[in-house]
């Protein structure tokens, strides 16, 4: 007597209720609060940029997979994440169409041509940004907006993109030094609070350390990402800036270094991208520390005021090697018969 109405398969027969799509959409949810805050800080036009970016990423993925006759995977949410992250690393004052070429570069060239989700070597969103920095350098380095602190100003902010142009904290710090920085952004305690909440010029999604931190901690609590990369990244940025960032050794300001630029966004949402980061703990720690070191190097010695984008991309290329070098030590590897 054989029951043909059953299913047979192999053990284990129960699986955890986690799918790639579920993880991806959770990350999307964690990325929404910084966007909402940015809308009030920089004006509504950033919403259009973000929607344009997400839309063109999803469309690029769907169309390119259709053309290559592959299964269409937009439902898994990874294109949405790429779209969001791409918008988050663009200055708020750029024209609306700007994300489109970046999205094609990010999704089609970096991801789909490499074989789809799981096979890309570099973080797609950051390739998109690097592409924009190379092709539209002026817009990408000058289209900053001053944050709106006054609720009455907010009403008009959406009206014009070129409302007020500003300079990012790192730019001021790099080119004019600490005193000019203090002059522009106020006392140290005011700087810390503003930067922590997100009231500073910067890219669309990178300003609010607080909301990014909440999202990141939520992901760590859900065990979707581990603490290794964010912590080692932030620590190495802080420590190295403290050592080398000042006029003399050990006089740099680690907190400003961590709270400005894209360190928080990079640490919790970019460097922890599953596909392009190592899978093992030691590898992750080295990966994070390497990003931190490269970021500080580019910030202090390089031509750009911010370097996390290139730091992550450089370390992405080292990921396969890190996985090779730091294999987990097998249980009882040291034991002898």
């Amino acid at each position: 007597m054989i029951r043909t109405d059953l299913f047979v398969s192999v053990s284990p027969h129960i699986k955890q209720d986690v799918t790639v799509a579920k993880i991806m959409w959770t990350v999307v949810a964690c990325l929404i609060p910084p966007l909402v805050l940015s809308m009030f800080v920089f004006g509504f036009q950033i919403l259009y940029i973000t929607l344009m970016s997400v839309g063109s990423c999803v469309a690029t993925e769907a169309i390119s997979e259709k053309l290559l006759s592959r299964p269409i995977t937009v439902k898994d949410g990874s294109a949405v994440i790429t779209g969001l992250l791409l918008a988050y690393v663009i200055p708020p004052g750029v024209p609306f169409w700007m994300p489109i070429p970046a999205a094609i570069m990010a999704i089609f060239v970096t991801k789909v041509l490499m074989g789809g989700l799981g096979f890309n070597i570099f973080n797609p969103a950051l390739i998109g940004r690097a592409f924009l920095v190379a092709t539209y350098p002026v817009a990408m380095t000058t289209a900053w907006l001053e944050p709106i602190r006054d609720a009455s100003v907010f009403k008009y902010a959406g009206a014009g993109v070129d409302a007020i142009s500003a300079a990012t904290p790192l730019y001021v710090l790099k080119h004019y030094g600490m005193s000019a920085f203090m002059e522009k952004f106020g006392s140290m305690s005011a700087i810390y609070t503003d930067f922590f909440i997100g009231l500073r010029p910067g890219c669309i999604g990178e300003t609010s350390a607080l909301l990014l931190l909440i999202g990141g901690i939520f992901l760590i609590w859900k065990k979707y990402i581990t603490w290794h990369i964010p912590i080692s990244l932030i620590l190495s940025v802080g420590v190295l800036t403290w050592i080398f960032g000042g006029e003399t050794l050990f006089t740099g300001n680690p907190l400003v270094a961590v709270l400005s630029g894209g360190v928080m966004l990079g640490a919790f949402f970019m460097a922890t991208d599953y596909v392009t980061s190592p899978t093992q703990k030691t590898g992750k720690l080295i990966f994070g520390a390497g990003i931190g070191a490269l970021t500080v190097l580019i910030r202090l010695k390089g031509g750009y005021p911010e370097g996390i984008c290139y730091a992550i991309l450089l370390m992405n290329s080292l990921t396969p090697a890190l996985d090779q070098w730091f294999r987990p030590k097998r249980f009882s590897e040291g034991a002898k018969i």
């Binding site: 059953l6 192999v10 053990s11 284990p12 027969h13 129960i14 699986k15 955890q16 987990p328 040291g334």
Partner: protein
């Protein structure tokens, strides 16, 4: 890791990685063991254990008594087979076991007077199991009786027990661990046995401890079985037996993880527990050792749990070996409408089957029936290298590497990543968000590696 110690033991009561699946033991854990009556026919596959197949010593139409030897295991790693019923041998046919082994089996039709299985179970649960006169049995005698009784590990792997207790001068056993962890979700047969027959377990533990000359005997139980722990504590009073209460975590009951948890020792790859001076046996095995030695009864019956949301009345049953799975399921009210998969064993390491005539073997610890909701059938997506499998693997391997090496026929990478250390616990597949069938692929990978080693 090193900060916490299990009280009274060198280990921590825990091991690295592993998972916490919902244990669902409450479905069947509270129902007392019921005794099933003797079925009309029993089917006894000739290989119910790890090792060499046993040779049938009966012919069709031969009359056999209860407990008569029907198959003899001549090789050292083999076990004899005894008839659980009195009756007439029908034929020696072929059966396919859930683990896809296709092998000959003796079927016996019951005839004449039968032993009352209730009596066997009452013997088991009786409180008069001796504890003091153990020393009248010489270690060799105990090993010999275990061999003759056909006792194998009842936890699932079914390794012949006499091999573990056989005197071996080169490997001294310091500690006998008695495995009552039962880390598989759903199953509750060992839990019930510990609650209902603690005295038999204690006697068996003393006997097995004497056979291997162990200095220490430890019964290991996960902390989700408080009543079993209490009963065992009462039963082990004034004996040398210790009870280790371990963290509830899968796969706590795996040999290597258990030794690590309790004793802090690591068994090397390819080594046996005896390499670390440890012998491990399941509680049910130990109880049948007690029965074999004291009551001189062979292994013919065992406790199984029939559980899962797809079964109408989950139960724990004392059944003769060789009864068909279908009869056991019918006894429990049959399967429900939305039952989707029937598994021999637990859901993590058990084998699915669809043939209701499949017999219960010595290694069958239970039948789990899962519903459509419980078996997820999500489409496999590509690996995103999230590393969840790496963080779940109790052997600290890289399951995704192993599985993909197997999929792309690359045994050399599989060897470099220690494919043979994998014991197929299923943690990686359980946590995989891409729903890749890692364990199945790793199994095919092991075959590839074996084929490469041969050529």
């Amino acid at each position: 890791m090193g900060l916490f110690r299990l009280k009274g033991f060198p280990g921590t009561g825990n091991f690295r990685h592993g998972i916490h699946p919902p244990d669902n033991k409450s479905l069947s854990a509270e129902s007392k063991v019921e005794v099933m009556q003797t079925p009309e026919t029993v089917v006894l596959p000739l290989l119910q254990h790890i090792g060499a197949q046993c040779k049938p010593v009966v012919k069709p139409r031969q009359i056999v008594r209860y407990g008569e030897v029907v198959g003899v295991g001549r090789a050292f790693i083999s076990a004899s087979l005894h008839s659980p019923v009195a009756g007439k041998v029908k034929k020696i046919g072929m059966v396919t076991l859930p683990n896809s082994m296709h092998l000959p089996a003796i079927s016996i039709k019951t005839e004449g007077d039968q032993i009352n299985p209730q009596r066997l179970w009452d013997e088991m649960t009786a409180m008069d199991w001796p504890r003091d006169c153990i020393s009248i049995y010489a270690p060799e005698t105990i090993a010999k009786i275990i061999h003759n009784s056909g006792i194998v590990g009842l936890g699932g792997a079914a390794f012949p027990t006499h091999v573990k207790v056989a005197p071996n001068d080169s490997r001294m056993i310091d500690t006998l661990l008695i495995n009552g962890c039962e880390c598989e979700p759903y199953l509750s047969c060992d839990d019930r046995l510990m609650r209902e027959a603690p005295k038999a377990i204690v006697t068996g533990a003393l006997l097995a401890g004497r056979a291997v000359a162990a200095k220490e005997i430890v019964i290991c139980v996960e902390n989700n079985k408080p009543e079993a722990i209490l009963k065992l504590q009462q039963a082990t009073e004034k004996t040398l037996i210790k009870i280790a209460v371990l963290k509830t975590k899968y796969p706590q009951g795996s040999e290597k993880q258990l030794v690590k948890s309790v004793l802090g020792l690591e068994i090397p790859l390819g080594g046996l527990p005896s390499d670390a001076g440890v012998a491990i046996s399941n509680v049910a095995t130990i109880a049948s050792v007690a029965r074999g030695v004291i009551k001189e009864g062979p292994l013919t019956h065992r406790v199984i749990s029939v559980s899962g949301r797809g079964i109408k009345h989950p139960k724990n049953l004392f059944v003769p070996i060789g009864i068909s799975m279908g009869e056991v399921i019918e006894y429990c009210g049959g399967i429900t409408e939305d039952a989707a998969r029937i598994i021999s064993g637990g859901p993590m390491m058990g084998f699915a089957f669809s043939d209701m005539t499949t017999p219960v073997t010595k290694g069958t610890s239970g039948i789990t029936v899962l519903t459509h909701d419980e078996i997820s059938d999500e489409q496999e997506t590509s690996c995103v290298r999230c590393g969840r499998c790496v963080d779940a693997c109790p052997m600290n391997l890289v399951p995704t590497r192993l599985a993909l090496a197997a999929r792309y026929n690359n045994p050399s990478i599989a060897i470099r990543y220690h494919i043979n250390a994998c014991f197929e616990c299923g943690c990686c597949t359980y946590v995989c968000p891409a729903k890749i069938k890692l364990v199945q692929l790793i199994r095919t990978g092991k075959k590839l590696v074996a084929a490469m080693a041969k050529s």
